[in-house]
């Protein structure tokens, strides 16, 4: 006579949950106390410079590397005790091309299919669907080593998706891929996401992070911020001012001495000036012009700017280095 249990407040638990996840290699603390949630059906962007601990984190989540401390669950399974289940429900695309260059496109696909228990007719059907989506149909008999960078990337993705995983880890999927192919890849990733697959993507291209539903910033093994890109960018609202000047290098040196200026970066014809607090453009314009004039680098124009994730990231890094 038990009434059916009413669904809880969150019927779809997060696809990835980590709790103070840590990994050290000897003296090096690669990942420190990482606590993170990735929602199901989202594209999560994992950002940070090289050596920030992104790949180490992915390896722990895939079950390739045991953590030295902390816990994590992927697709509801513990990463240490239920590695088998995780392997069956996740796909992994490594940073470097890691398929067999001497095997053909089809042979690579069928091998990884077999490894995940997808073979025969099922593999053929899956291959037809995926190859059509990633446009590899005509290249089936080509040896993987002869493919261009973008094609290799698409083949690797198809191989990672052969067993219809709930979650796919993509480690730097767009590194070294040209803009057109990058665009195609993103189109495919969105389609995949709409089909219900969750995606965990690392990148150090911050413009790409803007395409993700949620992002996390890693720096020196620590998660320093995470959330929706739109919300995160707002933290910098009214802290950015654009400047047009001809003698940019002198101007940068001068503007950095102005009180309240956190950093100044050159972007082509424009300088991006970031303050450590909220400011009104017209109230700081005077100070900026005065400092620049003293350095004989008069400013042409001063105007408010929209923040990007890159600005935010530079701001975090700056604060961190100042503290250190």
């Amino acid at each position: 006579m038990n009434a059916p249990v009413a669904p809880g407040p969150n019927p779809r638990p997060p696809i990835v949950v980590t709790e103070r996840l840590s990994r050290r290699f000897g003296e090096l603390e690669a990942v420190v106390d990482l606590s993170l949630q990735v929602e199901r059906g989202q594209i999560f962007g994992f950002l940070g410079p090289n050596g920030a601990g992104k790949t180490t984190t992915i390896k722990m989540l895939c079950g390739l590397l045991p953590p030295t401390r902390g816990h994590a669950a992927v697709a509801g399974h513990d990463i240490e005790r239920e590695r088998e289940q995780i392997k069956r429900q996740t796909g992994y695309m490594a940073q470097t091309f890691s398929l067999y260059p001497d095997l053909t496109v089809e042979e690579n696909f069928r091998f990884f299919g077999g490894a995940y228990g997808v073979s025969g007719q099922a593999a053929t059907r899956r291959m037809e669907t995926l190859f059509r989506q990633v446009e590899l149909d005509e290249l089936r008999r080509v040896q993987a080593g002869r493919l261009s960078g973008g094609m290799k990337q698409r083949l690797a993705l198809a191989c990672a998706l052969v067993h219809e995983p709930q979650l796919v880890f993509l480690d730097e999927p767009t590194a070294g891929v040209d803009p057109a192919n990058r665009q195609r890849l993103w189109d495919f990733l969105y389609a995949l996401c709409e089909g219900g697959t969750s995606l965990f993507i690392t990148t150090h291209y911050l413009d790409e992070a803007e395409r993700c539903h949620a992002v996390g910033f890693m720096l020196e093994g620590r998660l320093i911020a995470h959330g929706e890109p739109r919300v995160m960018r707002e933290q910098l609202r009214d802290r950015l001012v654009g400047v047009e000047v001809r003698r940019a290098v002198d101007a940068v040196r001068a503007l950095r001495t102005v009180p309240g200026v956190e950093d100044v970066n050159i972007h082509g014809n424009e300088l991006r000036v970031r303050f450590d607090r909220r400011v009104e453009c017209h109230t700081v314009e005077g100070q900026l012009r005065e400092a620049a004039a003293r350095a004989s680098a008069p400013l042409d124009r001063v105007y408010p700017l929209d923040p990007t994730l890159e600005d935010l990231f530079l701001s975090y890094e700056r604060q961190r280095s100042v503290r250190a």
Partner: protein, 389 residues
């Protein structure tokens, strides 16, 4: 399980087939090596030693002694009759400059002394820098000297009337006779000893080096990481990778044995099940060692170096081409560390003496132990750290 192994084995086969040149090498080189080794490695026999024979005596007995030296294959005698002390000094000089290997000096008065029933001394000087040749020269001349002694005594007995003929004198001088026979290899054909060593060595070389690069190559290319995220287990990866190389090694065995049969006349006289069992376990043990090397190597370079460091001592310390009896006593136990030792011993016994499973119990058990240890250790290491880089 079986399907996972099948998919991996198929992939490894494809790797082999795609690399045509390497495949051709792997198939033909063993046969070529069998031919080369079969001809080059005979019984280690010393012949044609450049010997200066200096006859300072000039008598009958000296003449007979020299004739006996000339009749052996060991010496290539350069005889100087009516030699003087100056010739002896010259010979010493030639020995120093490696123009000759040995000097035999028959002193003046040799024949007369012996005829008078006194003793005389023949002097032999050998270049000791070749430790293999020198003792052989010494042994061969000692044999000649014994024979000549018998002649001298027999002659004396006959002259003194203690024997009616020289033959009777010889019987009296050397009454103990020796009846000898080489069993199992009556003609003492060296190939019968060498071929099992050659086959063993080639199989070991192939299995260890080729297998050693397999997992190391996946690590180097980064594909091991991709394999490690699949549900494939360490044991499946291990066995899947082993299968194609096992088949290849069997193929090479058949090739090498055909060469041994038709070029060198070495045929299998023993029981086939014993021979095949021995071969299979030996191949597996070599592949196991290769895999173990592979699992501890980060890249192919390391793997090949380790494999060479393993196979070279095996070449010297096992009994592939030289009997264990040629090794110094305190080094002999080292041969027990190499499957090649057990294989060569067992294989020789199996093809020449028709040894049974019971006869080869020790060899088979030792090889099986190698298989179990290397397989177990490799799988364990592979599970613990699949993508060491």
């Amino acid at each position: 399980m079986i399907w996972n192994v099948y998919h991996l084995a198929l992939k490894e086969f494809l790797h082999l087939v795609r690399d045509r040149r390497t495949l051709a090498f792997l198939i033909f080189i063993p046969s070529v090596l069998t031919v080369i080794f079969g001809y080059a490695i005979g019984n280690p026999r010393v012949t044609g030693v450049r010997t200066r024979v200096l006859d300072l005596d000039g008598g009958r007995i000296a003449y007979e002694y020299i004739t006996a030296i000339e009749d052996t294959l060991t010496f290539r005698a350069d005889v100087r009759e009516h030699a003087t002390e100056a010739d002896v000094a010259q010979a010493e000089e030639d020995l120093l400059h490696d123009r000759i290997n040995a000097i035999v000096v028959l002193p003046a008065g040799l024949s007369r002394a012996l005829d008078d029933g006194r003793s005389a001394t023949v002097r032999l000087v050998v270049d000791g820098s070749d430790t293999f040749m020198a003792p052989t020269v010494l042994g061969e001349l000692a044999k000649t000297t014994v024979q000549q002694n018998i002649f001298v005594v027999a002659n004396m007995l006959e002259r003194e009337g203690k024997a009616r003929t020289i033959e009777e004198g010889m019987t009296k001088a050397a009454p103990i006779r020796l009846d000898t026979e080489y069993r199992f290899n009556p003609d003492l054909k060296s190939q019968n000893f060498v071929m099992p060593g050659v086959i063993g060595l080639i199989l070991q070389l192939l299995a260890v080096i080729v297998m050693a690069t397999s997992i190391a190559r996946e690590r180097e290319r980064g594909t091991m990481e991709q394999l490690a995220v699949t549900p494939l287990t360490a044991a499946e990866i291990f066995i899947g990778k082993l299968v194609p190389y096992f088949v290849l090694a069997l193929l090479d065995t058949v090739n090498a044995m055909l060469v041994a049969r038709f070029l060198f006349g070495v045929s299998v006289a023993g029981h086939y099940p014993v021979v095949v069992t021995l071969l299979v376990i030996f191949i597996l043990s070599s592949l196991g060692i290769g895999q173990l090397i592979s699992t501890v190597s980060r890249n192919q370079g390391q793997a090949v170096l380790l494999a060479v460091f393993y196979t070279l001592p095996a070449f010297v310390l096992s009994v592939a081409f030289t009997p264990i009896e040629t090794q110094p006593q305190n080094v002999r136990p080292a041969s027990l560390l190499f499957p090649l030792t057990y294989f060569c011993h067992g294989f020789r016994a199996a093809i020449l003496r028709q040894a049974s499973f019971a006869d080869l119990r020790t060899d088979l058990l030792a090889l099986t132990a190698f298989v179990l240890i290397t397989f177990g250790a490799s799988i364990l290491l592979l599970r613990m750290r699949p993508d060491v880089r």
